[in-house]
Each structure stands twice: as structure tokens, then as C-alpha cells.
Amino acid sequence: MPLLEAKDLSLGFGGKPVAEHVNLCVRPGEILTILGPNGSGKSTVLKALSRNLKPLNGVVYLAGRDLRKTDGRDIARQMAVLPQSPRAPGDITVQELVTCGRYPHQNWWRGSAPEDRKMVSWALQQTGLAEYAERPLTSLSGGERQRAWIALALAQNPHILLLDEPTTHLDISHQLEVLELLAEMNRRHGLTVVMVLHEVGQAAKYADRIVLLQQGRIVAAGPPREVISEETLRTVFGVEAEVWLDDVTNRPVLLVRGLAKKADAAGG
């Protein structure tokens, strides 16, 4: 059974739908990347998967249950969500932030339990932030801060983690650091990861499968070497690029030569 499944979603913010006929399923233990040019609707799709946008049509299932008919805390114990560029109060410490991840496991008669503290310190360790626990979030660098938000999500102890462009505003080494962390969590703990990326090379390197969106429609879905081609880069992203297969990883590697001629590009 797919862990997360979207059936014939139509999405929009009133008026014309931003995305239509979106069908996708997330298999347990995979890294799925939603890829597409600006305005292709990839963040919108993630919002719908994470209940932050009510679909105009269609249903999202988490482990076979309709998201809209499932209790929010119940969902939060299975699925964690990290939006793009989240913000926190200026004086919150890393530990306090990560402890918020235990919210779906707590209720008003049961506050903080030993299990909560255990999960929080585990999440801090996994993200390499154990020494930063008492530091204010604002004193951390961009990459460390993003890892702190990931630690918040990990403290939820989810089976699946949804992230919207987790590498935005980070420099290249911190981008890789975040992606390596997610890949590590996926490898070692079987965490299923669904993330929106706009960097084709990174999607090719880290995704098990890619769902490619163009103007609100899925135009390709499959392993990177099937989805990333000179053809798709030209028609979907509007760039001329050379793509070849890395013998070691069996993943596509690309070299962008320049913009495609307008007549060839479908735009988007």
C-alpha cells in the first residue's frame, strides 16, 4: 500500500485551478522529489499533501485513510511537514523549538514525558545539534537553523517527512549538508521523504523517484534517469543541456549549456 497517495487532485486558490489531475503515490522508504520550473504548481501540490491547502477536488490518502477525515494529531504522529522558510520567535532556543515537535504526542493532562525528552535529544543528535541545544535559534547559521527545523520534524517521530524547498537561501555546502542529512535519515531509519526541489541536479542526485510538473500537470514520473533528459530539460525548463549517466551511481548528471530557443521551449 502506498504511504501517501493523491487521487485526481485539482488545486487552486479560488478561480482557475493551479494544478489539475494530479495523481501520485509515495512508496514507503523512498525519497520522492517534486520537481518543476517556477509556477509549475509544485509547492501547491505539497501544500495539498500536507493539509495546508484544501483541494478543490480529489482526495489525499495517508496510509489508506482520507486526510480530511483523519484527526490532525493522528496525522501529525505519522507525517511531519516543513514549509519553506519557517519563522520562530526571536528568543526560542533550539531545544525549545525541537520540543514543539512532541506536541502531537502530548495532551493537556499529560505534559512532557521521559519519552518526549528521549526523542528530542535523539532528534538533536541526528541533526548534529546536541551542543547547540541551549542556544537561541537566531544565533545559528542558516544551515544549522534549517537542521534545527528538521530536528523539530524528526522529534515528531514520523514515518514520512514532507519538505518544501528545504535548501532555499542556503549556500551550496549547506544545501548538500541538508540533503545528505535527509538521505542519511532515509537510509538509516527508513524515513520516507517527499520534497519539493527546483534544482534539477540535486533532484537527480538524491531522489529515488522524481515527479515532474509543468503548468500544474504531471508530465513525467519515475527514477531520475528516466525523467531527466535533454528533451525534458528543453521542453519543461527551457534550457539546452547535456545529460549523461554516471556509471558509479547510475544517476543522470547534467551540464547546462544555455537557454533553449524560444520556439522549442514550452514555457512555464
Binding site: 511537514v81 516543513l82 514549509p83 525549545e96 514543539c100
Partner: protein, 338 residues
């Protein structure tokens, strides 16, 4: 509030310790303010005497009469009004994620103001109805703003904008009445500035249930306010029903504020500045911020009222004026030090 929240530096290792200390200091401040308020006035009563009188209950003794019939109810009403306004402000600032949110922004005060002025100016013989009518006015304004701001749920910015608009509209109504009936303005003016003159046991009975219930719900909601501070997306991801929580907590704040302004008139300042003072010293964790704001609000209002009724004795100033005159500069001082 956001990444720019200013907080006076404190040792992070002893953070909880520091926060508890601040709360204790606020509690002592509130307790001291209550004692001072009971002791100072045309008849001075020492703290030991106050405790003795309170233990003995009401007797024929003159001091006992003053304490039990005049000062105690007025002081308690002042303290509870302070608690309610400060809690309402702290909750609203948290729920609406806007440091400028307070009962005035939500239009609650204007609702109470217009209703009160209508009674005081048009039907002065019904003056005893001012409190309940003002309460209805405040709640009507809150409901109106909710309805205006509702569009697929409640968005903080729309609440604030609707509140500002409704506030302006009701304010125009108040000004209009004051201009048309300028001969009867005086009574209404005292009410609009806000104060505790002649507040007694019936007022206490009116406000107490709201303080108890609102305070309890507010403290229970503190954890949720902390989660909401991380943004709607994160809160929803953590399993919170964001719209429902926002609606409930705003309603709690509305009840707290409505009960306070209906009893004491349009006291400004407490709801806006007291939570900020507490935040500057404590940080933005609502589990500490809410109780601290409540204690500070009680202390500030009681002390202001004591000053208001003694400083130019026998002439009595509205407490609102004192509070703004002393509190605003002090707050600016804190803000510059942060």
C-alpha cells in the same frame, strides 16, 4: 512575535530560573500594590491593621468600614480589570501574531464605548445599566468583526483590519454623540478615559467569573499559543486545528476584555503595553508570559488607581491617565535597554 522580538539578555542556562524569578517579582509587585491601595487614602491604614481588619471581617470600626465597603472592592475590581486586560492583550498578540494587537484593535473597546456613551448621554436615568449594556456592546463588536473577517476561516491580518475599520466606525458614533449632546459630555468622558471611581462589590461579582474562566482557558491555551507562534503551516503540521484554536482563543480574549471595559470604561495601555513589558523581561514563551502579564496587569492597574485617587486628593483622576503618563515612559526605557 517574529525574528525581531527584542528580549533583554539573560543567562540562557538558568533561563527557567530567571523566568520564575521574574514571575515571583511580578507577584510580589502585585501583592504590594494591593496592600498600598488598601492602605493609602483619606484615612491611612497600616499593613498590619489591614491584615487584622481583613481577618476580623466587617465591624462597626470606621477603618473597617472604609476597607470593607470602599477600598477592598475597588482594589479587587482594579486588580481583576488589570488581569483581564493584560491577559486579553497577551492572548491577542499571540493569536494574531501582531505586537500591536490589543482589545482596542479588535474593536471590543469601541463597542463597549459606544454602548456606554449611548446610555450615559441619551438615557442618563438608566446609568446603572452602563456595565451590562457596555458588555453587550463589546461582545457585539467582537462578533461583528468576526463575521466581517470570516472568509474560509479567520486570517489574523483580516481580523486586525476589520477591527480597525469597525473601531473607526464606532469611534465616529461616539464622537457624533458627544458633539450633539455636548452639555452631557462630562459623565461620558470619565467613562471613555476609564477609571475605577465608585466601583464596588457588584462590579466585582460581574467581572470575577470571566477572570476565573478566561484565566484558566488562557493558561491552558499557552502551549497552543507557543505552537502557533511557529506559523500556521508548522502548527497544522503538528496536528493543531489552527482555525478552531484561533477562534476559541480570540473568543476568550474578547470575553476577558469585554468584562474589563464594561466595568472600568475604556482603559487603554494595559492590554497593549503590559504584555510587552512582560515579554521584554521574559521572552515569548506563553506559559510564562500569560501568568506574568496577568500579575503585572493587576499590579500596574491597582497602583495607577491608587495614584489616581490620591495624587490630587480630593480631586480624583481617571486611572487611565496615570497609567499612560507613568507607564509609557517606563516602557520606552525598557524598550531602549533591550
Amino acid at each position: 512575535m517574529d525574528g525581531n522580538t527584542t528580549v533583554i539578555a539573560f543567562p540562557l542556562r538558568n533561563r527557567t530560573c530567571w523566568r520564575l524569578t521574574v514571575c515571583v517579582v511580578f507577584a510580589l509587585f502585585a501583592g504590594g500594590a494591593l496592600l498600598i491601595s488598601l492602605g493609602i487614602g483619606s484615612v491611612a491604614v497600616s499593613p498590619e491593621e489591614i491584615l487584622r481588619i481583613l481577618r476580623a471581617g466587617l465591624t462597626a470600626d470606621a477603618k473597617s468600614q472604609v476597607i470593607w465597603n470602599i477600598r477592598l472592592p475597588r482594589t479587587l475590581v482594579g486588580a481583576l480589570v488589570g488581569v483581564n486586560l493584560a491577559l486579553a492583550g497577551a492572548i491577542l498578540q499571540g493569536v494574531l501574531k501582531n505586537p500591536l494587537a490589543d482589545p482596542h484593535i479588535l474593536g471590543i473597546s469601541s463597542g463597549a464605548g459606544l454602548a456606554g456613551v449611548v446610555i450615559l448621554v441619551l438615557y442618563p436615568h438608566l446609568e446603572m445599566l452602563v456595565t451590562p449594556v457596555a458588555f453587550c456592546g463589546a461582545m457585539a463588536a467582537a462578533v461583528l468583526i468576526y463575521l466581517l473577517a470570516w472568509k474560509n476561516g479567520i486570517q489574523p491580518v483580516r481580523i486586525i483590519l476589520a477591527g480597525v475599520a469597525v473601531s473607526a466606525l464606532l469611534g465616529a458614533g461616539i464622537s457624533g454623540l458627544l458633539v450633539f449632546y455636548s452639555d452631557r459630555v462630562h459623565g461620558a468622558l470619565m467613562w471613555l478615559v476609564g477609571g475605577l471611581a465608585a466601583r464596588s462589590w457588584p462590579h466585582l461579582q460581574l467581572i470575577l467569573p470571566y477572570t476565573v474562566v478566561g484565566g484558566l482557558l488562557g493558561v491552558l491555551g499557552a502551549g497552543r499559543l507557543n505552537i502557533m507562534a511557529l506559523g500556521d503551516d508548522i502548527a497544522r503540521g503538528l496536528g493543531m486545528h489552527v482555525e478552531k484554536t484561533r477562534l476559541l482563543l480570540t473568543a476568550v480574549a474578547a470575553l476577558l476584555a469585554a468584562s474589563a471595559v464594561s466595568v472600568a470604561g475604556l482603559l487603554g495601555f494595559v492590554g497593549l503595553i503590559v504584555p510587552h513589558m512582560a515579554r521584554v523581561l521574559l521572552g515569548s514563551d506563553h506559559r510564562f508570559l500569560l501568568p506574568a502579564s496577568a500579575l503585572l496587569g493587576a499590579g500596574v492597574l491597582t497602583l495607577s488607581d491608587t495614584l489616581a485617587r490620591t495624587i490630587f486628593s480630593p480631586v480624583e483622576l481617571p486611572a487611565g491617565i496615570i497609567m499612560a503618563a507613568f507607564g509609557a515612559p517606563f516602557f520606552l526605557f525598557l524598550l531602549r535597554r533591550a
